[in-house]
Each structure stands twice: as structure tokens, then as C-alpha cells.
Amino acid sequence: MAVTATPKIDARRLRADFPVFDRPIRGKPLAYLDSANSAQKPRQVLDAMHEFYAYSYANVHRAVYDLSERSTAAFEGAREKVRALINASSTREVIFTRNVTEALNLVAYSWGLANLGPGDVVVITELEHHANFVPWQQIARRTGAEFRAIPFDDQGELMLESLDELARQGQIKVVAANWISNTLGTINPIEKLTSWAHEQGAIMVVDAAQAVPHRSVDVQALGCDFLGFTSHKLCGPTGAGALWGRAELLESMEPFEMGGEMIRSVSVEETTWNELPYKFEAGTPAIAEAYGMGVAIDYLEAIGLEAIDAHERELVGYAMDRLAELPFVTVYGPPAERRAGILSFNVDGVHPHDVAQMLDFEGVAVRAGHHCTQPLVRRLGVSATTRASFYLYSLPEEVDRLVEGLRKAKDMLG
């Protein structure tokens, strides 16, 4: 008997976990094709958070009563789930943040301000989300360091042949790249970039916002130095995210925000910092949200991240085949076999806002705009694109409805 290599998920059955699909949108079943923006929430996460807030909630790390101990256990339990999800060696290396933007700002401000100066170079990619672009650009400006971007080619893939030239520009200190482009779905060669960064003596910072919710991630195998992701894209609540960093780097860094929780002792003369990870967690954290993120991680792991990845790749392949039937649609980015479940495109003669509006009339939710990647979109030679993105609950018939909606948009407005 042959063994099936890739496990399959039953998206139709999983869909029943998500209350949002129970109610029609504009009288039609919801086709939610905007998960790269934010994922929908399963009942398991919503119920667990409700239970937690109702019966286990108190502030963490402060009190000796039972409720606070339970709350702290739930919060720290979530940290362990994050650790295991990305195979970090210790929970000391897992810092809870508000989102991936805060995680990346933490590194840029705390590590960047202390370690960058004139003659140094910060390298990002032209595929970056503004969250991994603007903080580095501004910190480079403040410290006098150079700021350079690795360009991408006509298939939306990084031009690694430009790396040698970049290395001649100065001492490269930081390489910051997203694992998966949120606009094009390009899967970046993050292992290669990490090796190259280390050859240059630079640290490697990975924006894994679009990777962690969709594929297995192992920070030790990858060998990068920092990696950030966010809860709301992996079926968890908003307001929680995580930064993983190498302990020796985190230990050498100054705190990013200051206040309660992050101190060891405070006096008028001097303040000393708490141990990792609390040094970077000033103030009352998003307790229930961190807990909810942990529940979402359990939910995804029970389904299997490899299976989720396989499901999305199958859908993106199907979507690209179907869109190829429409001569008036231009799809950007790499071929299906080298792409995550994200698809950016334009309809000839119809603005992306109007495309998204027309799709909304059909109950199909997509994003239109620059997707917080203005340099990327400008490089494509357009002002905006329409983007469809998939997750574990996405179905082929939603792709069919997308295609029908695009035909209508072209008919009515093109």
C-alpha cells in the first residue's frame, strides 16, 4: 500500500469551527479571502478566552492568591506553546508583544540604536511590509547607517545576485527580511539570507508574520537571530504577538519600553532590569490575548501546519489556473509552486478599490490597496493591487466565486 505523503485537511469540516461563516454577508455566504490581513477566529479560541476572562482572570506575576496564580499559569503556558511552535530553546527567548510590528520595532530600537553607526549598512528587501522597512529606515537615519534594499525580479523573487554589490557598500550589520511576502506570496530563501547575513557579520531579523500561521518553523534549524509573528493571523486574538531572539543578544540589549514588571529594583540613583523575557515586557501585558494565542496554536497544531500549508498551496494553484482563464487579469509574483497562499492581481481598466467593491457585493472579501508595501507596489508599476489570500477554512468554490466576481467587475466597470 502506498502511503500518502501529505496529510489532508477537511476544510469544510473545519469551517464549522468558525462562527463568522454561520451568517450571510449581503445575503450571500461569506467567502473570506483576506486571511493574510487577519484570520477568522474558531469557537475553540473564543470560548477559551471567554472562560478565562470569566473565571481565571487576574493580573499576572504580582499576587499570591489562587486566581492570580491560575492567570499567571495560563499566561506562561502560552509562552511555552509559542516556544514549542517555533522550537526555541527556552521560554526566556520568547517575548510577548502587541503584534509583529512591535516585535520588529523592539529590535530596531533596542539593538539598532546601540549597534549601528556611520559606515554600517542595514539591508532589507524591496518585498518588505512597512513594519520591517520603516523602523529600520528611520533607525538607520538616526544612527548615520546606510539603508539598502535587495531588489526583486519580474517574478517577484529576490535578486540574490545583488548581494555581492551590497556587501561592498560598507559593513552590513543587519539583514531584515520577511519569510513570505504579504503582497506577492513569494517564499523568500530565508535560510540563504541568514547564512549570507552571518558571513557578513550581521544579525538576521525575520518577519515571519505570514509564515508562522501557515508552515512549520524551527528557529534553531533556521539559525536566524530574531523572528517576529502575530497572533491575529494564526486564528488568535488581536493585541498579542511574539518576538523570539537569541538569549545572548537579548541579554546585551537595553529595554525598549520601561515601567512595571521589567525592573529588578528601582531607586532614585539607579534602576536594574528584570531577567529575560520580562525585561522587555513593561506594564500589564495582554494576558487573555496571549492565552488565546496559545489556544490558537493548539488549534493549528492539532490540524497540522504541514497539512494547512499543503491545502493552501493546492488552492493557490487552482486559483492561478482559474485566473489564467481571464485574459483581462494580471497576476503578480512567482509561479504557484514557489508561492504561499497569497495572490495579488489587477483587472485591466478597473481600479482595485472598485474590484474589491464589486466582489463585496458578491459576499467575497478581499483586500485592495498597497498592502503596507508601497515600495513593492511602486516597483510593480501600479498604485495598488487586489489581493486574495487563503487559510485552512478556504474552499475551491470561493475561488470560483472570486473568478465570477472579477468577470462582473470587468463587465460593469472595465
Binding site: R26, H351, Q357, M358
Partner: protein
């Protein structure tokens, strides 16, 4: 009426497909560029004044945008021709929205008034009329 017909009413589609005053004006008396940061759309507005130096003789626009922003800017050019700069600078946005006459969500509202905001910026640069709301604090930036 269908949702499509409510939003993309005939007059909107007409202005979108046949925009009035579309193009670049050489030797404009005043001009400005505006951006909608939500979608990256850009519009340039050009104004020519009449002999009195105050009456708007001609208005043109160029740039890219959605049907709502293109149609609204096209309608705007028809609305302001022959009016005084000071009057247009003080024109409430409701006057334009009434003309557009469609239900607009907060996001689409930004599309609809991009042209008007940019026109008022051009008038400010050309005639020193007050800046539109929300742009006053950007004066130095916008005028450089």
C-alpha cells in the same frame, strides 16, 4: 435598486468613463498634488484663473484612482468653473457629496473628497486661501 446601481449610479459611471477636465494643464496658475494614503492613489489638480485673477476659469486633473474618486473629481471640475477661489475654498464638502449622491462608507468618502482637498490645496498655494481641514498643520511640508 441593486447595490451596484446605488453606488455606481449612471451619472458616476458616466463621469468615470468620460471624465471632464481630465489631462495635464500646461502653464497652470496654480496646481497641487494629493495622495490617498489608504490606496496610494494620486491626483494632480491644475487651475487657470480668469482676467480678474480670482475667478476659476478652468480646472483640470490627472492621476489614477478608483471610479468614485475619478468621477467625484470630474464632477468637481464642472461645479467650480466660474466660481471665485475664496468661495470654492470655503465650500463645504457636503456640497460635493450631495452632487455625487451615493452612500459612502468612511473609506470611500476619502476617495470622494481627494479631488476637493487637492483643489483647495492648489487654491491655497495660488491665492493664499485657507487650507482644507487636516492639512493646516502640514503647511510647511506641502508648500516646499
Amino acid at each position: 435598486m441593486s447595490e451596484f446601481d446605488q453606488l455606481y449610479r449612471e451619472v458616476i459611471l458616466d463621469h468615470y468613463k468620460n471624465p471632464r477636465g481630465h489631462g495635464v494643464m500646461e502653464h497652470a496658475d496654480a496646481e497641487a498634488e494629493g495622495q490617498n494614503p489608504l490606496c496610494g492613489d494620486e491626483v494632480s489638480i491644475y487651475v487657470a484663473f480668469g482676467e480678474d485673477g480670482d475667478t476659476i476659469d478652468d480646472v483640470m486633473f490627472s492621476g489614477r484612482g478608483c471610479a468614485i474618486s475619478q468621477a467625484a473629481t470630474s464632477m468637481l471640475t464642472e461645479m467650480v468653473k466660474g466660481r471665485k477661489a475664496s468661495e470654492v475654498a470655503a465650500m463645504p464638502k457636503e456640497e460635493l457629496l450631495e452632487e455625487i449622491g451615493i452612500p459612502l462608507t468612511p473609506v470611500r468618502l476619502k476617495c470622494a473628497i481627494l479631488g476637493l482637498t487637492t483643489l483647495r490645496l492648489a487654491l491655497h498655494k495660488g491665492k493664499g486661501t485657507p487650507l482644507p481641514d487636516g492639512l493646516a498643520e502640514l503647511e510647511d511640508l506641502e508648500l516646499k
